[in-house]
C-alpha cells in the first residue's frame, strides 16, 4: 500500500460532520457513566424480584400439558385439520423421495444435471453434477436425497404460502407493517423453543420437520416478494390502470412480471433459509444430513463435519442453479423470434425425453435406487466411496488441533484465553454487576443519542420486559457476549471490507469463502471450534463472529465502493495519499453502511446465541436448548422471548438515524 508522502492537512469536506462527532462523544460519555455506576455499586442492585413475574414459565408449561392432553384425548375438528395438513406434508416428502429413488441414482443424477443444463446453462449444470458426485463419493447419497426431498417440499409450501402474503403486503402498506413484527419473531425465535409443541401437534417425521422449516423460511419469501411488488414503478401501475386494467390484471400482467427478479430471489433465499434448518429437523425425525450432524456431534464429530460439508455443497449448488436459471430465463434479456422459440421447445423436449430414456434404461439395467456402498465385479469388490478415508483425515485433524504439543494449539489456546479474560469477562462483569437501573438508563440514553426518541422508547420497553420476565441476568450475560462478538466482527469486517473494496482481487478470493460461511448451518460452525477453542464461551463467540462477518464485510465493501468519485478526486487533487483518501474521505462517507454493518452484525450474532448455548455460552441460549432437552418448555419460551426483546433493543440502539428499511431482517 502506498506510503503517505505529502503531509497536507485534510481538506475540510473530508472531516466527519460535527453532528456525528458530537454523537460519538455523547455515546462515550454515557458508557463512561455506566462504568462509574458499576464501580460505585458493584453487585449491589440486581433486578428486584418484586418487579419480576416468575409464574410465566409454569403457566406456559401448563399450556403445553393441556395441548398434549387435547391431542391424546379425542379427535376434535381443530386437530383433524392439522392432521390433514400433516398428511399432505408427509405425503409430499415421501412421494418426492420415492420418485427420486424410483429414478435410481443414475437417473436422479442425470435428471438434475440435464434440467439445470437446459434452463441454467452449463456452468450451473456442472456445479449440480459435481454436487451429486460429491454426495456419492462422500458416502452420503441417501442422506442427501432425503434432505433434498425435505427441502423441496418445505420450499414449495413456503412459496405457496409466502408469495401470496408477500403480494398482499407489497400492495398494502398497513398490512405490511402489521405483519413485520410477526416475521421478525418467526426468524429470531430459535427453533428449539417451538420444536416440542410442533411435535405434540404434528408428531415426528418429515411433516414436523417441514413445518419447523416453514416457520423459518416463509419470512424471507414474504419480505422479498413484498419488496419486489413495491419496487414496480408507480408509472407502470398507473399506466395499466389508465388503460382500464382491473387490479387483478394489473397484478398478473404488470406487477408480478416486473417483480420477476425479486420473486426468483425470494425462491433462492427461501431455499437458503430452509437449508439452514435442516440440522434442527434432524432432532425430530427429519432424517437426512441433519440427522448425521446432530448425532454425529456426540459420537462421531468427523461425520458431523462431513455432513455439514455436504449441506454446504447442496446450498452452493442450489444457489448457483436458481441464480443461473433466473438469469437465463429472464424474458427481458431474450428477445425470442418464432424460430428461436421453436428451437427452445425442441431442446426442452429433447431434454425431457433424454431424462426419461436414461431413467428407464438405468432401471432396466438394474441400477440401485440409491448410490451403493460397494461396486462388485466378477472378481473383486470395490468401495464405492471414500468416506472412511475422509473421516480418517478429519479425525487426524481433530486429534492434531487438540494435541497440546501441536503448533495450532500454541496459537488457539492463548488467543482463546485472551478473548475470554481480556474481552468477555470485563464486559460481562460490567453488564451483569452494574445496577440494573444504570444499565437500563444508559441503554435508553444511548438509543436516544444514536437513533432518536422512538427507538429509545422501544429499547427501554424491551429491556423492562426482559426484567419483568425474570431473566435480566442471563440476558445481560448474553448481551455481553453478543457485544464482544459483534465488536470483533465489526473491527475485522471493516478492515477486510475496506481492503476488498480497494482490491478486486481480494474480493474475488473472498467471495466463495463468504458464501460458504453464510450457508453453513450454524451448528456445523460450532463443531470444529469446540475442538479448536475448548475454553468455554470462546467457541460460541468465534462461531458468531464467523457467522456475522460476511454481512459486515459485504456492507462495508458496498459502502466504500459507492462513495461518489467527486470527493475522492478532489482529495487526490489536493495530493492526499491513498491511505489518506481512504481514512479521511471514503470511510467517513461510507459511515451509514458501516453503521448498518454494525447493526446487522449484532442481529446475526444474536442468531447464533442459542447454538452457542450448546457449547458453553450458557445464559439465554442454554436456557432455550434446555427447554427442549429437558422439557422445560416455559423456561425455553421465556428465554426465546428475551432473545427477541434483546434483539429488538440492540437493533434500536444501533439502527442510527437511517430510515427503517424494508426488507430488513437477516440478509
Amino acid at each position: 500500500m502506498a506510503v503517505a508522502s505529502g503531509r497536507l492537512r485534510a481538506p475540510a469536506f473530508a472531516a466527519p460532520t460535527s453532528r456525528f462527532r458530537g454523537r460519538g462523544a455523547q455515546a462515550a460519555g454515557i458508557v463512561a457513566l455506566l462504568i462509574v455506576g458499576y464501580l460505585l455499586w458493584k453487585k449491589d442492585y440486581s433486578w428486584p424480584s418484586s418487579l419480576a413475574w416468575d409464574q410465566l414459565p409454569r403457566k406456559l408449561d401448563k399450556a403445553q400439558d393441556w395441548l398434549l392432553e387435547q391431542r391424546t384425548a379425542h379427535s376434535n375438528p381443530f386437530f383433524a385439520v392439522l392432521d390433514a395438513f400433516r398428511a399432505v406434508c408427509d405425503w409430499l416428502v415421501t412421494a418426492l423421495l420415492n420418485a427420486l429413488e424410483w429414478f435410481t441414482w443414475v437417473g436422479t443424477l442425470a435428471a438434475g444435471t440435464l434440467i439445470v443444463l437446459r434452463y441454467g446453462g452449463w456452468r450451473a449444470a456442472l456445479t449440480v453434477f459435481l454436487a451429486f458426485v460429491s454426495f456419492a463419493v462422500l458416502g452420503l447419497w441417501e442422506e442427501s436425497i432425503q434432505t433434498l426431498a425435505l427441502m423441496t417440499a418445505a420450499v414449495t409450501i413456503s412459496i405457496l404460502i409466502g408469495v401470496p402474503i408477500g403480494v398482499m403486503a407489497g400492495r398494502r402498506e398497513r398490512f405490511y407493517r402489521a405483519i413485520t413484527p410477526v416475521l421478525d419473531a418467526m426468524q429470531i425465535v430459535p427453533a428449539f423453543a417451538y420444536l416440542m409443541p410442533v411435535v405434540i401437534v404434528f408428531s415426528v417425521g418429515p411433516a414436523a420437520a417441514v413445518i419447523c422449516t416453514l416457520i423459518y423460511s416463509i419470512p424471507p419469501a414474504v419480505r422479498i416478494t413484498a419488496l419486489g411488488i413495491r419496487g414496480v414503478t408507480p408509472e407502470s401501475v398507473e399506466a395499466s390502470q389508465a388503460l382500464g386494467a382491473t387490479p387483478t390484471q394489473t397484478l398478473l400482467k404488470v406487477q408480478l412480471p416486473l417483480a420477476r427478479r425479486q420473486l426468483l430471489l425470494a425462491l433462492n433465499q427461501t431455499i437458503m433459509f430452509a437449508l439452514s434448518l435442516v440440522v434442527i429437523a434432524g432432532l425430530i425425525g427429519g432424517r437426512g444430513l441433519g440427522d448425521q450432524v446432530t448425532s454425529g456431534l456426540y459420537s462421531n464429530p468427523a461425520l458431523a463435519i462431513l455432513a455439514g460439508i455436504a449441506i454446504v455443497i447442496m446450498a452452493i449448488a442450489l444457489d448457483r442453479a436458481t441464480a443461473a436459471i433466473a438469469d437465463r430465463t429472464d424474458p427481458a434479456r431474450r428477445q425470442l423470434t418464432d424460430e428461436g422459440r421453436r428451437r427452445a421447445r425442441t431442446i426442452t423436449l429433447g431434454t425431457l425425453g433424454l431424462i426419461a430414456v436414461i431413467v428407464l434404461a438405468s432401471r432396466a439395467l438394474g441400477a440401485d435406487a440409491i448410490y451403493p456402498d460397494q461396486f462388485e465385479t466378477a472378481s473383486t469388490v470395490y468401495d464405492a466411496n471414500i468416506q472412511d478415508t475422509v473421516l480418517g483425515w478429519f479425525n487426524d485433524a481433530l486429534d492434531y488441533v487438540q494435541d497440546p504439543a501441536s503448533f495450532v494449539f500454541g496459537i488457539t489456546e492463548p488467543v482463546g484465553n485472551f478473548i475470554l479474560e481480556k474481552m468477555l469477562q470485563p464486559v460481562q462483569n460490567l453488564l451483569m454487576d452494574a445496577p440494573w437501573f444504570a444499565v437500563l438508563a444508559c441503554s435508553t440514553a444511548l438509543a436516544f443519542v444514536l437513533s432518536g426518541l422512538r427507538p429509545a422508547i422501544i429499547a427501554f420497553l424491551m429491556l423492562v420486559l426482559i426484567g419483568v420476565m425474570g431473566v435480566w441476568e442471563p440476558s445481560m450475560d448474553t448481551a455481553s457476549q453478543v457485544l464482544v462478538a459483534t465488536a470483533i466482527a465489526v473491527v475485522l469486517g471493516i478492515v477486510i471490507g475496506i481492503w476488498a473494496a480497494e482490491s478486486p482481487r481480494v474480493e474475488r478470493v473472498l467471495r466463495p469463502i463468504l458464501d460458504t460461511l453464510q450457508t453453513l448451518p450454524q451448528l456445523v460452525y460450532i463443531i470444529p471450534f469446540i475442538y479448536l477453542m475448548p475454553v468455554s464461551l470462546v467457541a460460541g463467540v468465534v462461531a458468531s463472529v464467523l457467522y456475522a462477518i460476511p454481512v459486515v464485510i459485504r456492507l462495508v465493501t458496498a459502502g466504500v465502493r459507492s462513495v461518489p468519485p467527486a470527493p475522492v478526486e478532489a482529495a487526490q487533487a489536493f495530493g492526499a495519499s491513498r491511505m489518506q483518501v481512504l481514512t479521511k474521505v471514503k470511510v467517513p462517507l461510507a459511515r451509514d453502511s458501516i453503521m448498518l454493518g454494525i447493526n446487522q452484525g449484532l442481529i446475526m450474532v444474536l442468531a447464533v446465541v442459542v447454538i452457542g448455548g450448546l457449547v458453553g455460552s450458557g445464559a439465554l441460549g442454554d436456557q432455550v436448548a434446555r427447554g427442549l432437552q429437558r422439557n422445560e418448555f416455559g423456561e425455553g419460551v421465556v428465554a426465546s422471548v428475551a432473545i427477541l426483546a434483546l434483539g429488538i433493543a440492540l437493533d434500536r440502539v444501533t439502527q442510527g438515524r437511517r430510515k427503517a428499511n424494508l426488507g430488513g431482517g437477516a440478509a
Partner: protein, 331 residues
C-alpha cells in the same frame, strides 16, 4: 408445429408414466412404524430410536442385529431427540427406546396419564453420575478421594473461565444434575462453569487432561471414554437413612441443602410404544428380555465411537462373542 404437439404429448405421457410409477412404487415399501401380522409370529418392520450418545448406538445396534438374525425383523433406526421421542412413541412412529435415563416428568405424562407409552423395565445398564478427576491427579493428591479433601485446595483447579476460584466443569445441560447446588451446600469455593453439550465438555476436560493439568468435572458411567482416559472419582457425601429424601435433579432449584448427597444410581429403562406392546410381535418379548451390563455396552460403544468401527459390525462382533446371552432373550 403439429410434430411438436405430438412430441409434447409423448413426453407428457412419459412423464406421467414416470410419476405414476414412482407413486405406485411408494406403496410397496411404505411400511414405516410397526405393522406386525395378526398371527403374532411374524416380526415385520419395527423402529428403534437411537439416542444421541455412543452407548445408545451400541445397545440399539445390538438389538437391531439380534432381532434381524433371530427373527428376521426389518429394523429401522430413527435418531429423534430424547423428549420428542415420547410423542413419537405415543403416535406409534417409534416402537422402542432402549436407553432412557429416568425422565420422570415424561413417565407421568405419557406412561401414567395418557398410557400411550409402556415401561419396558431396566436394560441392566446402571447409570452412575459423580465428580471425576484424572487418575494422575488422584495419585498426587490422595486426599481428593473424598470431597472434604477438595476443601481449601480449590484454587488448584483455577482456569481462565473461573477467575480467582477453582473451576468445576459442569455436565451437558440436558443431563440430570445438581452440581451448582452441591458446591453451595458443601461450602466449596468452585465456580460452576458450563461447557455446553457433552462433546464440548469432553473437549474441555480432555484438553486439560492431555496437558496433565488439574481438572474436576461432572462425569458418568457407562461411557466409552472411560476405556480411553484414566479417571478417578471424588466421593460425595453418602446417601444414608438420615438423608434419604436427598434429591438429584436440581431442575426446580430451591434450597441447596436438599441436594447435599451423592447421586443415586440411575436405573436405565427400556420404553415401548403402546401399539408395539399390544401387537403381539415376538420382537416385543425379546426386547423385554434384553439385558446388557455396563461393560457390554461400553465395549461396543468404544468400538463404534473410539475406534470408528461400523455400528453393525461392532454389534455383530459382540453378539458372536456373547451367543448365550443373546439366546436367552429369545427363549
Amino acid at each position: 408445429l403439429r410434430t411438436h404437439k405430438k412430441m409434447w404429448a409423448v413426453v407428457a405421457a412419459l412423464m406421467l408414466a414416470l410419476f405414476v410409477a414412482a407413486c405406485g412404487s411408494s406403496k410397496d415399501d411404505d411400511s414405516g412404524g410397526s405393522n406386525q401380522s395378526a398371527s403374532g409370529k411374524d416380526c415385520g418392520t419395527l423402529t428403534l430410536n437411537e439416542q444421541a450418545w455412543a452407548g445408545s448406538t451400541a445397545n440399539t445396534y445390538i438389538a437391531k442385529n439380534a432381532l434381524e438374525d433371530k427373527l428376521g425383523c426389518q429394523i429401522e433406526i430413527t435418531k429423534i431427540a430424547e423428549i420428542p421421542v415420547y410423542q413419537a412413541m405415543a403416535d406409534g412412529k417409534v416402537d422402542a427406546v432402549l436407553e432412557d435415563w429416568q425422565h420422570t416428568d415424561e413417565y407421568a405424562k405419557y406412561i401414567d396419564k395418557a398410557g400411550t407409552v409402556v415401561m419396558g423395565g431396566p436394560l441392566g445398564v446402571e447409570g452412575h453420575i459423580g465428580w471425576f478427576i484424572p487418575k494422575y491427579l488422584m495419585d498426587q493428591h490422595p486426599e481428593f478421594k473424598t470431597w472434604e479433601g477438595l476443601k481449601g485446595k480449590e484454587t488448584l483447579f483455577k482456569s481462565p473461565e473461573s477467575g480467582s476460584q477453582g473451576m468445576f466443569l459442569g455436565g451437558d445441560p440436558s443431563y440430570v444434575q445438581k452440581d451448582k447446588e452441591l458446591i453451595k451446600a458443601l461450602g466449596l469455593n468452585f465456580k460452576f462453569v458450563t461447557a455446553g453439550a457433552e462433546p464440548a465438555q469432553v473437549a474441555r476436560w480432555s484438553s486439560l487432561y492431555k496437558q496433565k493439568k488439574p481438572v474436576l468435572f461432572y462425569w458418568y458411567t457407562p461411557q466409552y471414554l472411560n476405556q480411553e482416559f484414566d479417571l478417578a472419582e471424588v466421593k460425595l457425601p453418602p446417601r444414608t437413612d438420615a438423608n434419604k429424601d436427598c434429591k438429584d435433579d436440581a431442575k426446580e432449584g430451591g434450597d441447596p441443602s436438599q441436594y447435599k448427597c451423592e447421586y443415586d444410581v440411575t436405573i436405565i429403562n427400556k420404553l415401548f410404544s403402546k401399539k408395539f406392546a399390544d401387537s403381539g410381535s415376538p420382537a416385543y418379548d425379546a426386547l423385554k428380555k434384553m439385558k446388557l451390563t455396563n461393560d457390554d455396552q461400553e465395549k461396543v460403544a468404544k468400538a463404534i465411537a473410539g475406534d470408528h468401527q461400523d455400528p453393525d459390525d461392532a454389534a455383530k462382533d459382540w453378539i458372536k462373542d456373547n451367543q448365550s446371552k443373546v439366546d436367552a432373550w429369545f427363549q
